[in-house]
Symmetry: C2
Subunit: 200 residues, 2 copies
């Protein structure tokens, strides 16, 4: 049941050990619905090629099954833990190429942009993000496995990016915001975005 | 004209701006022949998804066209220049997944392993690597573009890995080496390998 006017976003929180994939439909009035969520997991005991293949196959299956209009991927920073950053970057490359191969646009967002968008604070902890994801998607229990909430938060953050609640152009299209229509969360989001642009 | 006994190796020197792809056939007596070489280039002006897609499409086309028995990819280190390491890792992830999808084994080698294997010195410069690649493959001119030589060196190094010249088990199969059969280049190679294992 996909409402005709909704924007479908597939969010990916890339990683070798846990790669979260979440799909949401977001209406023009910002109302969001959970479509599906999963975490692809491989262990360090498996060879790198098998691990990356598992991620590629899962992401491609989800892209083909849910046909999102846009894919949102967590932006990888080289400042991350050096022991994990390479695997995260390799996984993100696979996700981005898989979307591009299908002609689906890809957007990258930093963790603080995502946190600011869904909680109102760029420094929110994991529990706060999960609580807000549950509230926004009207879920009675937290998404399982635990890491799945991050992929959903990423998808929600992308859909709300640049949108004011109730504005006719809400739900993810790039649009100029009028300052008066901003909620505190949106102001933080704008600030985080501007900061990310300066940093990039 | 692919000799029945030769090992075909496709080497990839991953990168966003220049991704080198080289294919060689290596006989059991270590004699090597150039099959093909290219460099896929994209500029920083293009969006990341278009750049990664160009790499994915080129690598997949070469895998399907030349059907290598093994793919050798340069091992990415997080100690690299932070502004390029993410793109290199993203490209390498795409290459590894593309090979794995086709059931082709993937081997990772460090730049010093490759230099030691083809030149006898783990610290050889680019010109020395290119000269040795030309000599080994009996080329009258240097491979073009310049970065293509690195992908060929990687493929050659992989094929020669663990092989003693003229030994019946040469040409890339994992095999125990007898110390007496080692050339100076192979000793350096063994040392570089052992060092990489300790470091990883």
């Amino acid at each position: 049941m996909r409402p005709g006017s909704a924007l479908r976003v597939l969010g990916v929180d890339p990683g070798l050990t846990r790669c979260g994939i979440g799909v949401v439909d977001v209406e023009r009035d910002r109302r969001a619905t959970l479509v599906g969520v999963t975490v692809v997991g491989t262990t360090a005991h498996e060879p790198l090629d098998a691990r990356l293949l598992a991620i590629a196959e899962a992401v491609e299956a989800w892209l083909d099954r849910f046909e999102p209009e846009v894919v949102a991927v967590e932006r990888v920073f080289s400042q991350m833990n050096v022991s994990t950053v390479m695997g995260v970057a390799q996984a993100s490359g696979i996700v981005i190429a898989a979307a591009a191969k299908r002609g689906i646009p890809v957007a990258l967002h930093t963790p603080s942009e995502v946190k600011a968008a869904v909680t109102g604070s760029g420094r929110a902890d994991k529990a706060a993000v999960t609580r807000m994801v549950m509230k926004i998607l009207r879920l009675e229990t937290a998404p399982r496995p635990a890491d799945a909430a991050d992929a959903l938060a990423l998808a929600l953050a992308h859909a709300w990016r640049g949108s004011a609640p109730g504005s006719p152009s809400a739900a993810g299209r790039t649009t100029a915001m009028t300052a008066t229509a901003l909620t505190p969360a949106q102001r933080l989001w704008q600030e985080a975005e501007a900061k990310a642009r300066r940093g990039g």
